[in-house]
């Protein structure tokens, strides 16, 4: 079964980079341009992982995350936050929100795959061989 991943970011460029990074892996990717759209896709598709931007129009990532955590059907979905804000307080705030992990922009595609691989078991499309499992992370 392919891994179901939802990328929520108002930047089409970032969604494109996410899609390009995940292309070699056996996964299905959904995209949403803000938290409101992201919630709708999450309800409909029940993804295995959500990659979530913080600052977005309509509904930001923090609000979307809070809504996910309020919903018994969605609260267990691991969320990796993608943010351009690396400050100490911001990182603590994000951790307290109940995310699985976070990735600071700018990032290299290998870093993204590493974070995703820690949250879900990625497999290469061709060989369907599991990616070498890095140290697991504990989701908050």
């Amino acid at each position: 079964m392919p891994i179901k991943i939802l990328s929520v970011d108002d930047s089409r460029t970032i969604r494109l980079i996410v899609g390009r990074s995940l292309r070699p892996y056996d996964c299905v990717l959904w995209e949403a341009a803000n938290g409101e759209e992201g919630l709708a896709v999450a309800v409909r598709e029940k993804p295995d992982l959500i990659l979530l931007d913080v600052t977005m129009p309509v509904m930001d990532g923090v609000t979307m995350l809070a809504r996910l955590k309020e919903d018994p059907a969605l609260k267990a979905i691991p969320v990796v936050m993608l943010t351009a804000e690396s400050g100490r307080d911001n990182v603590i705030t994000i951790a307290r929100l109940g995310v699985c992990d976070y990735l600071i922009k700018p990032f290299k595609e290998e870093q993204l795959i590493d974070k995703v691989g820690r949250a879900v078991q990625l497999q290469k499309k061709e060989a369907a061989a599991p990616v070498a499992a890095p140290a697991p992370v504990v989701c908050f």
Binding site: T13, L16, I17, M56, P106
Partner: protein, 163 residues
């Protein structure tokens, strides 16, 4: 909290951060230009992101020629440098680059005790516009070079004196 507590070497921080953003996301090397001579643009693309909080307000601007903006978009999207790219795609890439610059500056300010939030990016395109700052706003202009083509990052920042 006052301006003294918020002290941050903005030029030094942003100079290093921009090089990191371009190297990490675009795999291109840019260098800071020290003679301070800013370029003139026939057609200009400017990304802007505002930031604001109780102690500090301001904006970050990334100014490039339309041609360089298109080349940078091609690098980010991994397209050939001369590929024709639509304005929407170029705007999105330049907006995201500006967002990363402003997000880093915001984080550095927050770590210095100046909590603030950032806006979503906006793009200005044109041939003859000027961005001016108010008299009491600190303006920092950094000039960079990529393959002989110059571009600039501009920060307008105001520290509010509070007790």
């Amino acid at each position: 909290m006052n301006a003294q507590t918020c002290s941050l070497d903005i030029r030094h921080y942003l100079g290093a951060h921009l090089v990191d953003v371009f190297q990490t996301m675009l795999s291109i090397n840019v260098t800071a230009v020290t003679d301070g001579r800013p370029p003139t643009f026939a057609e200009r693309v400017t990304g802007s992101v505002g930031f604001g909080g109780n102690q500090v307000t301001g904006a970050v601007y990334l100014n490039l020629s339309a041609r360089l903006a298109s080349q940078i978009a091609a690098a980010m999207l991994r397209l050939p440098p001369d590929e024709t790219i639509g304005e929407t795609e170029v705007n999105d890439v330049i907006g995201e680059c500006t967002n990363m610059l402003a997000g880093g500056l915001k984080s550095a300010l927050c770590d210095k005790g100046c909590d603030c939030a950032v806006s979503t990016p906006a793009i200005i395109r044109g041939t003859s516009f000027v961005i001016e700052s108010l008299p009491d706003v600190q303006r920092e202009l950094l000039v960079f070079d990529y393959n002989g083509v110059r571009f600039t990052v501009e920060v307008h920042i105001k520290f509010n004196q509070t007790n």
